[in-house]
């Protein structure tokens, strides 16, 4: 079962799966390359004189070979040619760009610069130390050392190598255009790419001192992005998103963490067993486990097991539940009380639902909903297995919710998301997501969060809380959605009650969020060793939905804004949506800001706290500014587009649930008592 990621004690690893993956691909490729293209493979011919500038004549052809072979000793032979090629290129570049260490004296230069006869490993260690100081990170360190060590072992065999390698390492330079072009044809050796990523990040972290003259940061970043895509096999879009999200020093950690599985964790079902007894029983079955952490009293982490952990008699008897550590958090944030009425809006497969039930000790009522009927089977199974008796399981679309049933004391919304936090679980995310997917799920999340908020009863004596969580780490699906909810409904953020995790963003690229978003929590695989996760806890302070008419207008503008962002990114589908939305708001584009402000003010009147008013006002102004700058030009383009286009597109897009919802919501409040009466009859 999964390995425990312990940053202080890293397991030694070889070149790994990645290195094997491309095995032989180059040879295959070489077969397909026709003569015209193949001149890259033929190493020394006059044809390459275009880009290979003559040196001072010192260099002999066979020279680099000695170095390469030794480096290749532990690599597959298939890679050799390419590897050599690469090596060569580097050397060539040296000649062209490098300003120190002329070619002839390459050997001496290598030795001189580092003074005494240092092995590459030692040099690397030195450099690593520097890097460590500057970046203040510790993981991955040993891994590199290992790799370096292997390299050095190989190098020791032949003396000549050391210097060439050392030269490479001493200074990182961007590859020239020709080289990158060539990489398109021949895939690079992954180890080289990895080293280049390392070096590149090193340069980027100390840009002023280590940069190459005349090269822009943008160029470095572009190369880094490309390399990360190659090495970790992500698509460009996701890497770009992640690069925006993390400081570069953390980025590689994050990506590395996504390659390792999170440890298997289980949650004790306190309805049926105690953690100590359970741990004892499992140990007797040959399971190696430990308490999960200080922050939970019910979690256990499984290191290894001689029996399948999902099929022990204890599991079947419902003494524990297999559940990721991150799934504990939203329920802990929700902190349901005994006797309450709780809604779990997207409950499958029931891990969080049963945790809620055990915190409530099987009292009160839990409504476990999920939009997918198939997945509800596991909910039912788990509920019965764990002996939860206070649950109603139903199969609605979450967006219909306040219509079906409202007045909950607490609501947990584990929104469907793009899953960028759980790449370790589902590597398909690496390549399958793009801008449109993110926008689409953000849109769905916004709809869901509004209906979740509307389902909460603010007047509840004990509750009135909503917890919103996703297993995604993008800002669009988290902070943006939360901020949207803050604008639309009478809710405020409250501390989640989780004493670890990183604070949510209050500003990110073009977004500016409400300052209270600091109260939300983000969790990352590399820093917390659990799936990437986001948790926000709301308190609803008024059941009034801020001024129906104005509120409606707002919603539309906002959604339009959302889709506009997608527009700019070539999304045709959302474009249609967006323009449709725009068309609706077009009627009074000038009024928009005014509308907004009035809406917010009405909000404020309803809201009880004066202190908040001041803050909110600042926010509204900011918000409107942003909005203006956003919607100004776009609206006009939509106008130009003409109504014909919009209509056409409008037909294509399915009749949105949201619209139905919105009109219904206001009616709903009026109608609800009637319905309830009917129901009782």
């Amino acid at each position: 079962m999964g390995r425990k990621l312990d940053p202080t004690n890293k397991v030694k690893r070889g070149p790994g799966k990645k290195a094997k993956k491309q095995h032989g691909a180059e040879v295959e490729l070489a077969k397909f390359i026709t003569d015209g293209e193949a001149f890259y493979l033929v190493r020394f011919s006059d044809e390459n004189s275009k880009w290979l500038k003559p040196t001072k004549g010192k260099r002999k052809l066979p020279e680099p070979e000695s170095g390469d072979e030794s480096e290749e000793l532990w690599e597959d032979e298939d890679d050799e040619e390419v590897e050599e090629e690469q090596q060569l290129d580097d050397d060539d570049d040296d000649e062209m760009v490098d300003d120190y260490g002329t070619l002839g004296s390459e050997d001496e230069a290598g030795e001189d610069s580092d003074g005494d006869d240092l092995l590459p490993i030692e040099k690397a260690a030195k450099k690593e130390k520097k890097l460590k100081d500057s970046m203040d990170l510790e993981s991955d360190e040993e891994e590199d050392d290992d790799e370096e060590e292997q390299k050095s072992n190989a190098d020791v065999d032949e003396d000549g190598t050391i210097q060439t390698n050392a030269e490479d390492m001493d200074k990182f330079r961007l590859p020239t255009a020709e080289e990158s072009e060539k990489e398109g044809v021949l895939s690079l050796d992954l180890k080289t790419v990895y080293q280049r990523i390392k070096d590149n990040i090193d340069v980027l972290c100390n840009f002023s001192s280590k940069r190459e003259e005349g090269k822009d940061r943008v160029e470095y970043l572009a190369l880094l992005r490309k390399d990360l895509c190659t090495y970790y096999s992500y698509n460009e879009f996701l890497v770009e998103k992640l690069m925006d999200l993390f400081p570069l020093s953390e980025l590689v950690d994050f990506l590395e963490a996504n390659e390792i599985h999170r440890p298997v964790t289980i949650r004790t079902n306190t309805l049926k067993a105690r953690r100590r007894d359970l741990a004892q029983a499992l140990i007797n079955r040959g399971v190696n486990l430990d308490p999960l952490g200080k922050w939970t009293k019910v979690g256990l982490v499984i290191f290894d097991s001689s029996v399948p952990i999902g099929a022990t008699p204890e599991y079947l008897a419902g003494h524990y539940m297999l559940q990721g550590a991150s799934s504990f958090l939203p329920v802990m944030a929700l902190s349901p009380q005994e006797g309450e009425l709780v809604l779990d809006m997207s409950s499958a497969p029931g891990g969080k639902t049963t945790y809620i039930a055990q915190l409530m000790r099987n009292t009160g009522v839990i409504v476990a909903n999920d939009a997918n009927k198939e997945r509800l089977k596991s909910v039912v199974g788990n509920i019965h297995r764990l002996g939860v008796t206070n649950t109603v399981v139903c199969n609605y679309d979450g967006r219909q919710f306040p219509k079906v049933m409202g007045g909950f004391d607490r609501v947990l919304l584990d929104a469907p998301c793009s899953g960028t936090g759980v790449i370790a679980k589902d590597p398909a995310v690496k390549t399958s997501k793009d801008e449109v997917d993110i926008q689409r799920s953000a849109h769905l999340q916004k709809e869901l969060i509004l209906s979740a908020i509307d389902s909460v009863n603010a007047a509840s004596p004990t509750g009135g809380y909503l917890v919103y969580c996703t297993c995604s780490i993008t800002v669009e699906e988290n902070e943006w959605v939360v901020d949207y909810a803050l604008k639309k409904r009478n809710v405020k953020l409250v501390p989640t009650g989780l004493d670890f995790g990183k604070e949510g963003f209050t500003s990110f690229k073009q977004f500016r969020f409400h300052p209270s978003l600091r109260l939300t929590r983000r969790f990352y695989p590399h820093s917390h060793n659990m799936d990437g996760f986001f948790v926000a806890k709301f308190k609803k302070f008024s059941n009034v939905i801020p001024s129906a008419a104005a509120g409606k207008g707002d919603e539309k503008t906002d959604v339009a804004e959302a889709t506009e962002a997608a527009d700019s990114d070539k999304a045709s589908q959302t474009k249609a949506d967006g323009s449709k939305q725009n068309a609706k708001t077009n009627g009074a584009p000038a009024k928009k800001s005014g509308n907004l402000k009035s809406a917010e003010k009405k909000d404020l009147k309803a809201g009880p706290k004066k202190a908040k008013i001041a803050r909110m006002e600042v926010k509204t102004e900011k918000g409107t500014e942003v909005k203006k700058s956003f919607s100004g030009p776009k609206v006009s383009t939509a106008n130009k587009g003409g109504s014909k286009f919009e209509k056409k597109q409008g037909k294509k897009t399915k009749p949105s649930m949201k619209n139905k919802n919105r009109t219904g919501k206001n009616k709903f409040k009026k109608m609800k008592p009637k319905w309830q009466k009917q129901n009782k009859k």
Binding site: P313, L316, A317, G318, G381, H384, T391
Partner: protein, 180 residues
């Protein structure tokens, strides 16, 4: 969702009484509120009145499960207990069988309990009496029917069946789809 008819109630209670005898009373009259049985899509659910009221909010086709599922009525109007009812059978069971740790796994895969795996058995168990099966650590594993009376059990050879398997907690994994 509707209350059970007279006939259905009779059939179901007859079945239940095979395992818990007159303790059925304890299921219906509970000190912590009124509990009742309801039929929903051929399945019988056991729930408190409070949940029952809330469940009326949901339309029939959207409601998947309420409270605890006890079992289902077959097309021939017989009642079949599901393993999900185990939580309510085990505490009130009149006749019990304990299986040895080695035979636990076998029972959880749906096999009958053999004499060799029999750890303990309640005195005076009659033949064909409904019994609840426990592990030696007193964890309820399922239920079944005694194939032999306690007296006979002493004499039979180790490979003969002493409890016929009816339901076990392994079904939570094996038959997850058919539980509801």
């Amino acid at each position: 969702m509707r209350p059970l008819t007279e006939e259905e109630t009779k059939v179901m209670f007859e079945k239940l009484s095979k395992y818990i005898g007159e303790n059925i009373k304890l299921l219906v009259d509970r000190p912590d509120g009124t509990y009742c049985f309801r039929l929903h899509q051929d399945r019988v659910y056991y729930m408190s009145e409070k949940i029952l009221k809330l469940a009326t909010n949901f339309s029939r086709d959207k409601l998947i499960s309420v409270g605890t599922c006890f079992g289902k009525f077959t097309k021939t109007t017989k009642f079949r207990l599901h393993v999900t009812a185990l939580d309510f059978l085990a505490p009130y069971a009149k006749f019990k069988v304990w299986v040895k740790p080695g035979a636990e796994q076998s029972f959880l895969y749906g096999n009958h309990v053999l004499k060799s795996g029999l750890g303990r058995i309640t005195e005076n168990t009659m033949q064909y009496q409904g019994v609840v099966v426990y592990s030696m650590a007193d964890v309820p594993l399922g239920f079944g029917v005694a194939a032999k009376s306690t007296q006979e059990c002493r004499r039979v050879d180790p490979m003969s069946i002493v409890v016929f398997h009816q339901a076990d907690v392994g079904e939570f994994i094996r038959n997850e789809d058919t539980l509801t």
